[in-house]
Amino acid sequence: MTKLKTPITQHDHIQGAEDAPLTLLEYGDFECPHCGRADPIVKALQERFGDQLRFVYRHFPLAQIHPHAESAAETSEFAGAHKKFWEMHDLLFENQDQLGLPLYVELAGRLGLPVERLIEALETGEFTAKVRSDFSSGVRSGVNGTPTFFINGIRYDGPVNVISMAEALAFELEKVA
């Protein structure tokens, strides 16, 4: 049983109520096709469990095999600094086959973010440390690829699909209820 080592804090990107009985945490990579496929699965689970489910996203860019994963993660952090993390998160996954500066600029523009500041932030590595710290916390928590999910702090090793994950969440809900 592999456990999450780094607790969830206000520095995390969180959707849903703090007191929700279920927390689903994902370590993901915007360039990873499996994460791209997992995104609508997470949304379906959020719909199904409603207020009972809180969702947290952390970065785990596999930069050696995904050359744009790091810059995409930093772009989402930039958006997060302007309270648009989730909007950018969704847009990056929807456009994951086109990752790169032209896309980031276009998406930032679409979300009304200061484009010049984005370019500067990527150039200076303003958000590199935040992304690295997510990555390190993942390594120490036994993240073994992307996406890796944790349900209430325990690594979920089952298949990534709505049925299996909903079953695991329902099982956990019964345990904590």
Binding site: T2, K5, L62, A63, Q64, I65, F135, S136, V139, R140, S141, G142, V143, N144, G145, D157
Partner: protein, 170 residues
């Protein structure tokens, strides 16, 4: 036979690391060594496992540790696999006689003819400090390796302090 455990002297080996070069464990004495046995190049789960180690090489290097992947694949196969996945650490071929080294570590799956997914952290003096065998379908991640390396570094720090204290006392 279960995999070799803590305190046992790690069996030495000399294996191909490229088609024309070999590497011995004893050459790495003085540094911690992470030995990661895995079933095969190109199988989907190990791709992830080796790719993961590749991403966290800097963390291993913080402990001056050397990481070696090892499977029964041949050196040319390893070369193609490493190129494809841009791996920056050596892969050893336990190829002839097949699986001989894995057998010495208790990390050979006779039935399947491949290595177990077994991890060893070997200390500076060549003794096994930590080992773990994962179910073959589960990528074990790197948390166990890093914890072992941290513990090893901490022990070394303590020993150095003792030596310093002794020196100061003298």
């Amino acid at each position: 036979m279960p995999i070799l455990g803590r305190g046992i002297e790690a069996p030495d080996f000399n294996l191909h690391v490229t088609p024309d070069q070999t590497l011995s464990l004893s050459e790495l004495r003085g540094r911690p060594v992470v030995l990661a046995f895995y079933p095969a190049d190109w199988s989907p789960v190990c791709g992830d496992q080796m790719a993961l180690y590749n991403e966290i090489l800097p963390e291993f290097q913080n402990h001056q540790a050397e990481i070696l992947g090892i499977s029964v694949d041949g050196a040319w196969c390893h070369a193609a696999y490493a190129r494809q996945n841009k791996l920056h650490f050596p892969l050893l071929s336990d190829f002839e006689p097949k699986g001989e080294v894995a057998r010495k570590y208790g990390a050979y799956r006779q039935k399947d003819g491949v290595c177990e997914r077994a991890l060893f952290v070997i200390d500076e003096e060549g003794k096994i400090f930590w080992s773990y065998c994962s179910p073959v379908a589960v990528n074990p991640g790197a948390d166990g390796i890093l914890e072992a390396l941290e513990e090893l570094s901490a022990e070394k720090g303590k020993r150095n302090d003792q030596v310093k204290d002794a020196d100061n006392a003298a």
